[in-house]
Amino acid sequence: MSDQSALPILETRAASIGYGARLILRDLDFSIPEASFTVLLGPNGCGKSTLLRALAGLIRPQQGTVLINGRSISTFPRKELAQRIGLLSQNQSAPEGMRVRDLVRQGRYPYRTLFGRWTKEDDEACEEALAVTDTAHLAGEKFDTLSGGQRQRAWIAMTLAQRTSVLLLDEPTTFLDLSHQIDTLRLARKLVRERGVTVVAVLHDLNQAARYADNLVLLKHGAIISEGPPADVLTPETVKRVFDVDVTILIEPQTKAPICVPVEDADL
């Protein structure tokens, strides 16, 4: 399904990224093909979120560069970059009493100027984002009355209202029940297929990642261990090396997606 010949939309070149003296990612060269769904996988603290923040331009690499369409992202004014790259971070919190519609409207910030008025285009982007995330019926609700899954979808709607060609999602399925996890992954794939959006997400579930993503990137200790289509990346060796878990790989008959099953001693 993946189109490996597609041009990279996001690239890092010899990028070393970290906070102060502490480097999280070293000398990273990697690229994300346009209109693909890429999932970053790895143990806690391996640098997935840091990489996502660097791709969004929130941390500047201490060495090397991050490029979007071949141009260094540090050369973009903030708002222009935010018109191209949208990031949904982990652990969001909205003020109590805020309504979903008001949250989603914040996604239009990169398009607004100090004195600029709210335009029809802003309205359309918000309505569309609400519709796509199935939150239109919640638009008038207060945030603190929503379930965890509804809140997460409202946050995704806010990020979609930004109408960026690149969407970075940091653990978008955390706190969601299975049906909303699947909805979120389907939504990501739909955005890729139907609108040519490039989605990069951090996930924890290897099997969901393998089922929905075009490319997987396995990270450990700030370095890429393996990247490519799920069937190539998920092997007993790579999973053992990255997560220190022994697995057997099964093939799901319908989609041929790999499935990891932990190996247990028979007597346990």
Partner: protein, 325 residues
């Protein structure tokens, strides 16, 4: 929106009541006559209303409005619903400046004193902001350094007071205790200018504050210059509350409660909150001053004391009414 109209009506009524009641009550007809410059106004009413009560009522309203908006900004920039302008050091800075000027240099409390107190407030809050900078500012660091530096300044003020001439110390304490007793049109003009600047600035960045409320990371990812915005908010808060403190001394509780009243009435949008917060703060101080000067006549209490006495039950009432919402 209905509740905003009620608030507006309450404020209008309160302004008239505050003009009418006092040592010498003035009839409503006479107040209107004085305000409209009508020839039926008698000389005594003109003197009482125009020269004494009107400046005082207006000053009370402006002080309340300034402190209230400063409180809204403080709660937003410090990301803390319990924040009030005092947290960024304006009270301590103004107090230290006032004590130094009055006790050390024996300068009488004049217009110059207001300016020096204003300068003290601004210096203190900017020092707190500068010291809390560590490749970026954080709300918690500002709060901690604010509390630390403010304590230091209060200690300095107390130290000077301990060795000062008792009469001068008393003058300083009276000046600090928060009163709109000596309101003049000149003071009002100064405060109006700062309030206008503060309100215009707050109005301009209202939308920015809405986004910042979602968190630094979310705001940055939408392309917001978060540090610049925080610096602007800090300066606006310092100017608004510093000007209010310079005009009326320390008036407690307004900056804390008025933004909450506004939030309960119109929600979280800073653009809507701004006028309602100002109105609520102004109303509270006018009402508190009226109570302070009439309840124990002829004794006059500091208005700062009454704001807390009046504000706390009202706040409790609002919380109680909203308990099931």
């Amino acid at each position: 929106m209905r509740s905003v109209l009620v608030l507006l009506g309450m404020t209008a009524v309160m302004l008239f009541v505050a003009l009418a009641i006092g040592d010498h009550p003035v009839a409503l007809a006479q107040i209107i006559a004085v305000l409209t410059d009508s020839p039926v106004a008698d000389l005594q009413s003109i003197q009482i209303v125009r020269d004494i009560r009107l400046p005082r009522v207006i000053m009370g309203f402006l002080v309340g409005a300034s402190l209230a908006i400063a409180g809204m900004i403080a709660q937003s920039v410090l990301r803390n619903p319990l924040a009030e302008p005092g947290l960024i050091g304006v009270n301590a800075g103004a107090a230290l400046a006032a004590v130094i000027v009055i006790v050390k240099f024996e300068v009488p409390p004049t217009h110059l004193l207001s300016w020096l107190a204003f300068a003290g407030a601004l210096t203190m809050s900017l020092a707190i902001y500068a010291l809390s900078w560590n490749s970026g500012s954080s709300s918690l660091r500002i709060i901690l350094i604010g509390i630390g530096l403010s304590s230091l300044a209060w200690a300095g003020a107390n130290f000077i007071s301990a060795f000062g001439d008792p009469q001068a110390v008393q003058r300083a304490m009276i000046w600090l205790s928060g009163s709109v007793y000596n309101s003049t049109w000149e003071k009002i003009r100064t405060l109006v200018i700062w309030l206008a600047i503060g309100m215009a600035g707050s109005g301009l960045i209202a939308r920015e504050m809405d986004l910042l409320a979602l968190g630094d990371e979310t705001a940055r990812a939408r392309g917001q210059p978060v540090e610049l915005l925080r610096a602007v908010m800090f300066v606006l808060c310092a100017v608004l509350s510093g000007a209010a403190v310079a005009a009326a001394g320390l008036v407690a509780f307004v900056g804390l409660i008025a933004p909450h009243v506004a939030r309960l009435l119109v929600g979280h949008s800073h653009g809507l909150m701004l006028p309602v917060t100002a109105l609520a703060g102004g109303l509270l101080v006018v009402a508190a001053d009226l109570a302070a000067r009439t309840l124990f006549m002829p004794a006059q209490l500091p208005v700062g004391l009454m704001t807390a006495i009046l504000g706390a039950p009202f706040f409790a009432y609002l919380m109680w009414r909203k308990r099931n919402v």
